[in-house]
Symmetry: C2
Subunit: 343 residues, 2 copies
């Protein structure tokens, strides 16, 4: 899934080139490329599908020259994750009705790629043999109010896989008191938006819980993978309800499973999250950029995507972010106002 607009990472992320297409970590690879890299030992490249907005299709094929152009699906408009997943699921089903699928956002980071690989392969082994929907649950380390939580029944591991458990409930983004209560227990996990299933399982779930969306793609089925596909999708896709897969499917399905995992995940939803996840100097500064000098500066997140010389003196707890013709200097504690600033 590569259709997001990343408004919270302005000015690094802009509607013209959002976060997933940016080398956020300054490592030479964009978040999208890093996401694909994580799957290179899990499946062949021709089995990687990218769903994105029409406007980003060229960026995707530029950044992923090894992924077949036909595997880049173009949404004519933004309709949240349920229609996005429906589209690619019907498309894959047409090609291989027994496909075993991992769905993932393309703008998250994973620090421990080996563990990620192990977890995904363990999960795919499970979904290959069952008709179950599997989610990954991230071990929380703080009472984050920006994520949804998955409540697991840890007393009830599945017979097939001892690290997979039945889900008791999905919980929407909690308030701080509730989040604090969750993380005191050990059976609440962050919902990372990574799902594993057999393609027939999710298609059936759409038929049951999102019949409106299912109907649209059943109607599109004959033209998928044909020349008329894009035109028909452009006409029909906008009719889909704007709804997330969590709300539209996950929270409604009777039996659903979770694989608790700990591979250094972050959705990098905020500058603060990036600050936390990237290497710091001794004074808590995370500097991403080739020519950044700091003096008497602490706890700052400094990000410049070009080969720019930056000198920062005397700041504490600030974001300094620069891209093209835009510069943001803002307290980390005020970053929820970035959307306002960008306007």
């Amino acid at each position: 899934m590569a259709g997001g607009i990343g408004s919270r990472f302005w000015p690094m992320s802009t509607p013209e080139c959002p976060k997933q297409f940016i080398d956020v970590l300054g490592c030479g690879r964009t978040l999208l490329q890093l996401t694909v890299d994580r799957f290179k030992r899990i499946c062949p490249l021709e089995n990687i599908w990218v769903v994105t907005s029409e406007a980003y299709a060229d960026i995707v094929s530029e950044q992923l020259p090894e992924v077949p152009v036909a595997n880049i699906l173009k949404e004519p408009c933004r309709r949240n994750t349920a229609p996005c997943i429906a589209y690619v699921s019907w498309r894959i089903k047409k090609q291989n009705p027994k496909a075993n699928v991992v769905v993932t956002p393309s703008d998250h980071i994973v620090m421990n790629v080996a563990e990620f690989e192990r977890v995904i392969l363990s999960g795919l082994n499970f979904t290959r043999e069952t008709d179950s929907i599997l989610t990954l649950g991230m071990k929380p380390n703080r009472p984050e109010t920006g994520y949804g939580y998955i409540q697991a029944d840890l007393g009830c591991a599945t017979a097939r896989n001892k690290e997979i458990f039945r889900v008791d409930s999905f919980r929407e983004k909690p308030d701080l008191a509730t989040a604090t209560r969750y993380i005191r227990k050990n059976n609440y996990f962050w919902n990372a938006g990574i799902f594993l299933w057999n393609v027939s399982t999710i298609v059936n779930a759409f038929r049951v819980y999102q019949p409106g969306i299912a109907e649209i793609f059943e109607r599109l089925m004959p033209v998928l993978a044909k020349e008329e596909e894009q035109e028909a999708v452009n006409r029909e896709f906008p009719k889909c309800e704007n709804i997330s897969v969590d709300y539209g499917i996950m929270e409604k399905v009777e039996e659903i499973f979770v694989l608790p995992a700990n591979f250094g995940w972050s959705d990098l939803g905020t500058w603060g999250a990036l600050h936390e996840r990237t290497p710091h100097d001794a004074y808590g500064n995370a500097c991403i950029g080739k020519n950044i000098s700091v003096y008497e500066t602490r706890n700052c997140m400094i990000h410049t995507t070009q080969e720019r010389k930056v000198v920062v003196q005397g700041l504490d707890g600030f974001i300094v972010a620069e891209k093209n013709d835009t510069l943001l200097i803002c307290k980390l504690s005020e970053e929820q106002r970035i959307k306002q600033f960008s306007e």
Copy 2:
């Protein structure tokens, strides 16, 4: 005089394009252009001479297309103000031995241009009729330790011009206690480096007080304004002593005069001086640039030379300066370290 390198205004001012060639005030004219503008009603443009470094000659002729190219004199190396003034004085003397001359830096600002014009014309009236050296004395408003001072004998106005006084002494940059003592009296003035004289007066002063420099230009006299000029200057100019006109001439001359003046002068020697001299918002921010937004920000000097979007939140007392590929964020109180930062 347009040969300075403006190292204290980094990154706006760089050795490739120092301060005098920059639109420091964001008004659409560079400091050099503003300096020439101030003289447009005082003398014809063909009487304006610019002495600069070889490296800057193209910038000067680009910025001053109305000044004859032959009036742009090129120093092959930096030798401080005395050789610079000697060069242009001998050159002007060759053309007009009776020329009445104003010497001025090109990287200062004057807020009250009408008063500047009045003062200069008053001074020129004086030097036209006498063989005296005249300096301008700026009324000080603070115990500045970065300027030299002129001590005037206010009891002794000249017979020809009631606002011109004999100079008692030139004082080099004082310490704070001395500067404070100076400004408690009313007869100490800042030396702005603006001088008025008849060309024969200054040439004679060089002969008496800087015979080494005078000898070099006497030797050059036959080739000045000829094709061989630049080649000869390139060979001889480097032999000049590296010395300021203040130290080499002013402080040695027996009889010298000062015209106290108050036309909103600043040498813009520091970011702080620019901050003080440019319009502020209600919170003490001076923003020079077309697209700067500030939130909860006070007492900042924000300068961007391009059409760049800048958002600043939560700063107090900082310089934010951006040019080309360089960004500086630094406390105003630490700006004396800018030279270090730029290295």
